[in-house]
């Protein structure tokens, strides 16, 4: 967190030699760091090179080498001791493979990394569905193979996609422009927060080479203590992504607090910005709990302590994990609501319904999310005295969530709805989240949860909120901001085809899982009784269609990014500030002071013209705000 006034692009020849291939240098330094740490540790404790002690020490130095190699050396170390800040941040496409402080570059780096991780983790899900087509198929080697796939899929999806996709991607790209700032509060911290992410994801992906891990994304002991060495890499990967989340949370909060354009009041902030504020508070406050829990697991493995094993308390881990874990699910879904509520007024051409109730709902969910964690632990044998209070708080949290949901419906009511691709994904979000949210109320109920815990009913429920909710919102955001980020337009017909393909295949996959769960299909088992085979065959077939639906946007959007039709600066006739500047925006975002208007005032008649002509609609000065 140092001065941003002295940021300049290096032109000196001495630095060019180093900076030509920072990614290569980062890989070399990381490899050197790993070898150094692992060799020294192996020699000291006379162990093998890939023992867990050696892997921990090696990974720590590898991470340091990676961060310094990508540009941390020039960005932090050299200026600290009096040298000039000289990082070659690159131009054109090379910016994306470098240490770059432009929040728009960082946003796209996050987004592309999250999408690549989504495709990898999705492919693993396809393998899981192959295994589940029939009992006794055994496509994975060894008895733990299926659980390793489940663990890898879940961990990648939660920590590598859901937690960083919207917050890292759109949080970085859109928030500073929406509040009229020229960058984030700490641009260098921002650049470095991103570069933690690929390392964390690579740690997960490397784990199978050390035997993988079987304890899922939750890493419950005692299994996570007795599991193979791959578990250590999973722990280190989560810690790495945790550092990144806390850093970007601090950055977003400071940005919104300090860098709002003159005249932009908290009461006028776009709802997406509000959702980022609330999410960042949760990140900053609760990620340390999972950090503590995982460090203690690592100590049980290597330092001879017994926090969770022998006569330690395995439930203590679950407590710590879910104190983080339940706020975490709101870290995943609130940004999704932020995007959807931001888009609905644009495509319904109507003022956002109940702005104050939305913000109040976000804040209430933020506060209440820390009071519900025991609902993950009803069946673990916790004291009966804890059951009813946590059932009550869990069912109560659906009230503020309901405010937000009703605000979405109220915005649609009587609107002049445009069924563009982003709007279709928003409506898909509302449909899916309704199912995900309502089944959550079932699971909050203690008596019913004793029946449903660890069945596919739970699997279907959280996929309806995270994939049907968060991922649909992420895709809505991608189509919506695509013209802003790329300066080009995607093909509307292909976008709509993508929606219907994904929406139908998605529901065909996950809706039957509720029935499978009620019928007794358990989570985390590769085999099941034969009477469940027909429903599993159906789910697997639908899952393959769903998996295939990702090929279409991958090809389509890559093509559109390079060859698409040129987009106007405001194709949606949207009123938030990012649409008042050119597409793609210049590095400093604004050439003239942003005009603060009522961002959701869509009731004017001139908006009936659709699609918009290439000139942006003039802003109307703010008169009052709901």
């Amino acid at each position: 967190m140092s001065d941003r006034s002295d940021i300049s692009v290096a032109r000196g020849s001495r630095w060019m030699a180093f900076s030509r291939a920072p990614l290569l240098r980062a890989v070399v330094w990381a490899a050197a760091g790993f070898l150094l740490g692992a060799e020294v540790t192996a020699a000291l404790v006379s162990d093998t090179l890939l023992s867990q002690d050696a892997v921990i020490a090696g990974y720590a130095l590898a991470l340091l080498g990676w961060i310094l190699g990508i540009g941390g050396w020039e960005a932090f170390v050299v200026p600290w001791f009096g040298g000039e800040y000289r990082v070659d941040e690159g131009t054109g496409r090379s910016r994306y493979f470098r240490f770059n402080t432009d929040h728009k570059v960082v946003g796209i780096q996050y987004l592309v990394t999250a999408l690549a991780t989504l495709l990898i983790a999705g492919s693993i899900a396809m393998l899981m569905r192959i295994e589940l087509m029939k009992p006794g198929l055994n496509v994975f080697s060894g008895p733990g193979g299926y659980n390793q796939a489940v663990s890898l899929h879940g961990t990648l999806m939660i920590f590598g996609v859901a937690a960083v996709g919207i917050v890292g991607g759109f949080g970085n790209y859109v928030v500073p422009i929406m509040i009229g700032a020229e960058d984030m509060a700490y641009p260098r911290l921002n650049a470095v927060s991103y570069w933690f992410v690929p390392m964390g994801v690579l740690a997960f992906l490397a784990a199978p080479f050390l035997g993988g891990w079987e304890s899922g994304w939750t890493a419950y002991p005692p299994l996570s203590v007795t599991d193979g060495t791959g578990q250590v890499l999973a722990v280190l990967g989560v810690l790495t992504l945790g550092i990144s989340s806390v850093a970007s949370g601090i950055n977003l909060l400071a940005t919104v607090y300090h860098l709002r354009a003159p005249g932009l009041d908290w009461r006028q902030l776009p709802v997406f910005v509000w959702s980022m504020v609330v999410t960042s508070v949760l990140n900053v406050a609760f990620v340390p709990f999972v950090g503590t829990a995982l460090v203690l697991v690592a100590m049980d493995r290597v330092a001879g302590t017994h926090f969770f094993t022998k006569d330690g308390l395995p439930l203590l881990y679950q407590d710590l994990f879910w104190i983080f874990g339940h706020p975490e699910v709101y870290i995943l879904i609130l940004p999704g609501f932020g995007i959807v509520l931001e888009l609905l007024p644009v495509f319904a051409r109507k003022t956002l319904f109940g702005y104050k109730w939305v913000v109040g709902g976000f804040l209430a969910v933020m506060l209440m999310s820390m009071t519900v964690w025991d609902h993950h632990m009803y069946t673990t044998g916790i004291s009966n005295a804890r059951l009813v209070p946590f059932m009550t708080t869990t069912e109560m949290i659906s009230v503020p969530t309901g405010f937000v949901y009703l605000a979405a419906l109220g915005t649609l009511w009587g609107g002049r709805i445009r069924l563009t691709t982003p709007m279709l994904f928003c409506l898909g979000f509302l449909f899916n989240f309704l199912i995900g949210g309502l089944t959550g109320v079932f699971l909050a109920d203690v008596a019913l949860d004793f029946q449903m815990q660890d069945t596919f009913f739970v699997v279907a429920h959280f996929h309806y909120t995270i994939m049907g909710g968060m991922v649909f919102a992420l895709i809505a955001g991608i189509y919506y901001w695509f013209p802003k980020m790329s300066g080009r337009m995607y093909h509307e017909g292909l976008g709509r085809l993508h929606f219907w393909w994904m929406f139908i295949a998605y529901n065909a996959t996950f809706l039957p899982m509720f029935w499978a769960g009620v019928e007794g299909m358990n989570r985390r088992v590769a085999d099941y009784l034969p009477y469940l085979q027909p429903i599993n065959e159906w789910v697997s077939a639908a899952a393959f269609v769903l998996g295939a639906s990702f090929v279409l946007p991958a090809v389509h959007l890559t093509y559109a990014w390079v060859r698409g039709e040129e987009a106007s600066s405001n194709p949606w006739r949207s009123r938030t500030l990012e649409w008042t500047i050119p597409s793609p925006p210049p590095k400093e975002n604004f050439h003239e002071p942003p005009r603060i208007v009522d961002f959701y005032d869509y009731d004017g008649a001139e908006d009936l013209e659709w699609p918009a002509p290439s000139h942006p609609a003039p802003g109307v000065p703010v008169a009052g705000n709901d």
Binding site: M1, G180, I250, F289, L296, M299, G304
Partner: protein, 185 residues
């Protein structure tokens, strides 16, 4: 000041922005200790073994408390934003006292008077590890400031000096809490 220049924060605004960041960071870090306090009382209740070296812990705590004095003098300029005396000597003094504390804590950590496999022993080793990590980070920051101070003139307005000082207060405060939780509860 034209309106577009206001989008770019002035130096005094920069100081405020950095201060916000350090406070948010400290808030986040303090959650590690909240979690450790929960672990201590869940796992070991208020049990406290007799073989703990109370004298050593008290001496170490007093030394750490003492290090807050030069730290206060170093960071005075940053908090008032009106200049002040930030000298290499004071930084070195803070660093030395912090180092003395770290050595004593490290001695406890390595000699380990309690069984690490037991309830209290696990808590003791875990808490000490977390605390040592924070102390070592604080010391490294001060050390780098010292090296920087020998090469450059230390700027009392500089945010890095103030940030390091603020963080050191945090280290002192967190140890006071953990001292109470581990040795006095």
């Amino acid at each position: 000041m034209s309106a577009i220049e206001r989008l770019h924060p002035s130096p005094s605004e920069q100081t405020k922005i950095h201060r916000t960041g350090v406070w948010l960071f400290m808030f986040s870090e303090s959650m590690f200790f909240v979690a450790m306090i929960k672990v201590r009382f869940d796992l070991a209740g208020s049990f406290r073994p007799a073989q703990l070296d109370q004298t050593l812990a008290l001496v170490a705590t007093l030394i750490l408390l003492l290090s807050a004095v030069p730290n206060y003098l170093v960071t005075r300029g940053w908090r008032r934003e009106d200049g002040g005396r930030a000298t290499v000597t004071l930084v070195a003094l803070t660093l030395l006292l912090g180092l003395a504390f770290a050595v004593l804590l490290l001695y406890e950590w390595t000699s380990l008077p309690v069984d690490a496999a037991g309830h209290y022993g696990s808590v003791f080793l875990g808490s000490l590890t977390f605390d040592l990590l924070h102390v070592v980070i604080g010391l490294l920051v001060f050390l780098s400031i010292l090296v920087r101070g020998l090469r450059l003139r230390l700027d009392p307005h500089g945010s890095s000096l103030g940030a390091a000082g603020l963080y050191w207060y945090f280290v002192v405060a967190m140890w006071l809490v953990m001292y109470g939780v581990l040795y006095l509860a």
